[in-house]
């Protein structure tokens, strides 16, 4: 071995050693104490960093939940109840109970129901179009079909139906993170209770105009007649600003409101077809 090699090896090793020592002392001086449980909790989380919990990423959520006194308000929509259970175990706390939810679009304004009155040729962004004007139809509350919600979904649970111009939620993939709800400038998406067999009953309309203009703009608009409110025996339906609203946590799926609605604004999803009306009346009478 020539002297050059020896000198090189020794000098570089010395430099490395000195640097290592300096780094060690600096690391000690600037050390930040971190609760080791944060790492444990973070390992349990899905790691999608979707923001569905309301925090900036999974690490942030882990910090929040470790430092929180009560963990009831904190929920990971992606991991769901099972993850919260495991985290509660690690932290030695009671696991909270939460209801599963799914995103639902409160609008059924496809072109066959809601005729177009103009053609939008600007940027395909719902917020921009909403700021600009009421939309391609006479309903200034309804879906503009430009897909901000679909773009916001981090779980591929939404797609735009080209025929109806409305976004579709894939129930199996939806984790109710709420990103689409925040993205919609007209607040048309709502997280409703996820029932068995993915059944839903809701007023597929957000139009607050009086009955006349609402109906003129869209055939299946809610005209605020209130018939559904009267027929509901479970106090699940309220009427405000010419618009009916069904509380998904009070609804028992009796479907009376669906038949009462004169415009067909209330939709029933994933139910078996009804028996014809004549027969059921006869049955009631005979009993």
């Amino acid at each position: 071995m020539s002297s050059t090699v020896i000198i090189t090896v020794v000098s570089l090793s010395l430099i490395a050693l000195i640097c290592a020592v300096i780094l060690y002392f600096i690391a000690q001086k600037f050390k930040v104490y971190e609760d080791p449980r944060i790492d444990q909790v973070e390992a349990l989380l899905p790691g999608a960093n979707c923001g569905g919990c309301g925090f900036a990423g999974c690490r942030n959520f882990a910090e929040a939940i470790v430092n929180a006194k009560e963990i009831e308000e904190l929920n990971c929509p992606v991991g769901g109840a099972s993850v919260i259970l495991k985290i509660a175990e690690v932290l030695g706390k009671e696991a909270p109970v939460s209801e599963p939810k799914v995103a639902v679009l409160l609008c059924n304004g496809s072109p066959e129901h809601r005729p177009h009155t103009s053609k939008y040729t600007g940027v395909k962004d719902c917020r921009i179009a909403h700021n600009l004007y009421m939309g391609e139809t006479d309903c200034s509350y309804g879906c503009m079909g430009l897909g901000d919600c679909v773009n916001a979904c981090a779980f591929d649970a939404m797609y735009m139906n080209e025929e109806t111009g409305l976004p579709v939620v894939i129930d199996d993939k939806c984790v109710a993170c709420g990103a689409c709800v925040k993205a919609c400038p007209r607040n048309l998406l709502e997280l409703r209770k996820k029932a068995k067999k993915d059944r839903k009953i809701y007023v597929a309309c957000s139009n607050c105009d009086k009955g006349g203009p609402a109906r003129r703009a869209c055939k299946v608009a809610c005209i605020g007649c209130g018939k559904c409110v009267k027929v509901c025996q479970f106090d699940a339906i309220t009427l405000k600003n010419n618009l009916a609203y069904i509380d998904s946590f009070k609804c028992t799926f009796c479907r009376k409101c669906v038949s009462e609605c004169p415009t067909g604004s209330i939709l029933e999803i994933n139910f078996p077809p009804r028996k014809p009306k004549v027969e059921s009346r006869a049955e009631t009478v005979s009993v």
Binding site: S118, I128, L132, Y133, S140, P213
Partner: protein, 451 residues
């Protein structure tokens, strides 16, 4: 036209573009549009609180009668522009693109309220005091007729701590196609100058400058001749450049003063009013006539008979189009205002409002946007921005949701003149995203104050 003169003319230095002028109706004398069958007068035709309706269904109203009262300081009265019966108080789509409350009146004859002086003679003697002038403006519903519709009496009420030493009259009309102010200056020049003197009295100042672009040489010559008999009014020709009609740019061109970011012209001791507003002030103060009609340019390359018309507020746009030869078969877009900052209308039932300076019809070949391509970083948008902003960066920040950074980059300074989108060779929708960024940043700033 003097070519040598052109080089010496004043203008603003930063940015600006030269869209084709298309002043098809510059030589068309203003005609009075016949009264419509019914009018729909929106209660919000100005910046500030909408007026409160004071008439009911079935009431008879006269031309010039107050039908909605001003609400607070930054608000003005709304008057009936016709005589007849109130049909209903309902909503109609207006230039905002949304439905707004409006008073629908079925027209019967043309009976005016007694207080209005309907004679044609020009009254030059200003009898009202400064304070009376200012309140007369609010009562008569005077707002900025250049399109901004800011209540004029607010501008004339100089806040304590600030002073005004110059009144600038905006006769620039930099938007292509529009000629309403041009015709008004030619046909009602003396009245405008009296109006300017009234405004000067209200502001208690002795100096006014009228900025007119050099593509209206006849108006410049005419007004210069008339201005000789008025004290303190100077007619200033300006080099043609868009957006010279923007008040910050106009102030810079005429005086060299730059209004600081986030501030108003009064902070550089200037008040700016549109030439049409000066005329409306003349009518309000000297003739006690409220703002019930205005000159509107109806134009477009496909129209049979484009022209300038004196229209009553509330008249549906369809009547104007009919008078101009009817809606051409090939119409792709209808714009209220100019092509650079105007609003596209969804139908022709929309009523004429105080801020509507013109209606332009575009054929379908000119109604589509060019497809958007990737940014080539040519920086042309930066070079044309009159406020020295960087539109490519503001669009990117708005798209990515980096609104705090957008605020630092002064996105709220943007006046939405459209020069950037007009120039972009890649057809990028710069203004769309900047506008989104602006509204988000303004909302954020407001929430910060509340906290």
């Amino acid at each position: 036209m003097n070519q040598k003169y052109q080089i010496v003319l004043k203008t603003f230095q930063k940015g600006g573009i030269h869209p084709p002028e298309n002043k098809l109706t510059a030589a068309k004398q203003t005609e009075v549009l016949p009264l419509p069958v019914s009018v729909a007068i929106p209660v919000s035709q100005h910046i500030g609180a909408p007026a409160t309706v004071i008439v009911n269904k079935g009431d008879s109203v006269k031309t010039g009668q107050v039908i909605a009262g001003s609400k607070g300081f930054v608000s003005v009265n709304i008057h009936s522009s016709v005589s007849g019966k109130v049909n209903k108080i309902d909503s109609i789509v207006d230039t905002t693109g949304y439905k707004q409350t409006a008073v629908f009146i079925d027209v019967e004859g043309d009976e005016w309220v007694d207080s209005v002086d309907r004679s044609d003679d020009i009254i030059t003697d200003i009898k009202l005091s400064s304070e009376e002038i200012i309140s007369r403006c609010q009562e008569s519903g005077i707002v900025g007729l250049g399109g901004a519709t800011f209540p004029s009496h607010v501008k004339l009420s100089v806040p304590s701590g600030k002073r005004c030493d110059l009144l600038i009259i905006n006769g620039v009309e930099c938007e292509p196609y529009l000629t309403a102010d041009h015709r008004l200056m030619l046909e009602k020049g003396k009245e405008i100058l009296v109006g300017i003197s009234i405004l000067m009295k209200a502001l208690k100042i002795k100096r006014a400058q009228v900025g007119i672009e050099n593509n209206k040489t006849d108006a410049i010559v005419h007004l210069k001749k008339l201005a000789a008999s008025f004290e303190g009014i100077e007619i200033c020709p300006l080099r043609v450049k868009y957006p010279q009609g923007a008040e910050k740019q106009l102030i810079k061109a005429l005086t060299g003063r730059e209004v600081p970011s986030g501030r108003l012209p009064i902070d550089v001791n200037v008040v700016v009013h549109n030439a049409g507003t000066a005329f409306a002030v003349y009518e309000a103060v000297q003739k006690n006539k409220p703002l019930i009609e205005r000159v509107v340019t109806i134009t477009g390359k496909t129209l049979a008979n484009p022209g300038n018309y004196l229209v009553r507020i509330g008249t549906p746009v369809s009547l104007l189009i009919e008078k101009a030869g009817g809606l051409p078969d090939d119409t792709g877009k209808i714009i209220s205002g100019g092509p650079m900052m105007g609003k596209a209308l969804i139908n022709t039932d929309i009523p004429v409002v105080k801020g509507m300076s013109g209606i332009i019809l575009f054929p379908s070949s000119e109604s589509d946007r060019m497809p958007s391509q990737p940014c080539i970083r040519c920086a042309k948008c930066v070079s044309v921005c009159p406020l020295g902003l960087e539109p490519y960066l503001l669009m990117l920040l708005a798209q990515k949701g980096l609104f705090e950074k957008a605020e630092e980059e002064r996105i709220t300074d943007c006046m939405e003149c459209g020069s950037c989108s007009y120039t972009c060779p890649a057809g990028r929708p710069l203004l769309d995203y900047i506008r989104l960024g602006k509204s988000t940043v303004i909302k954020m700033a407001r929430e910060r104050v509340v906290k």
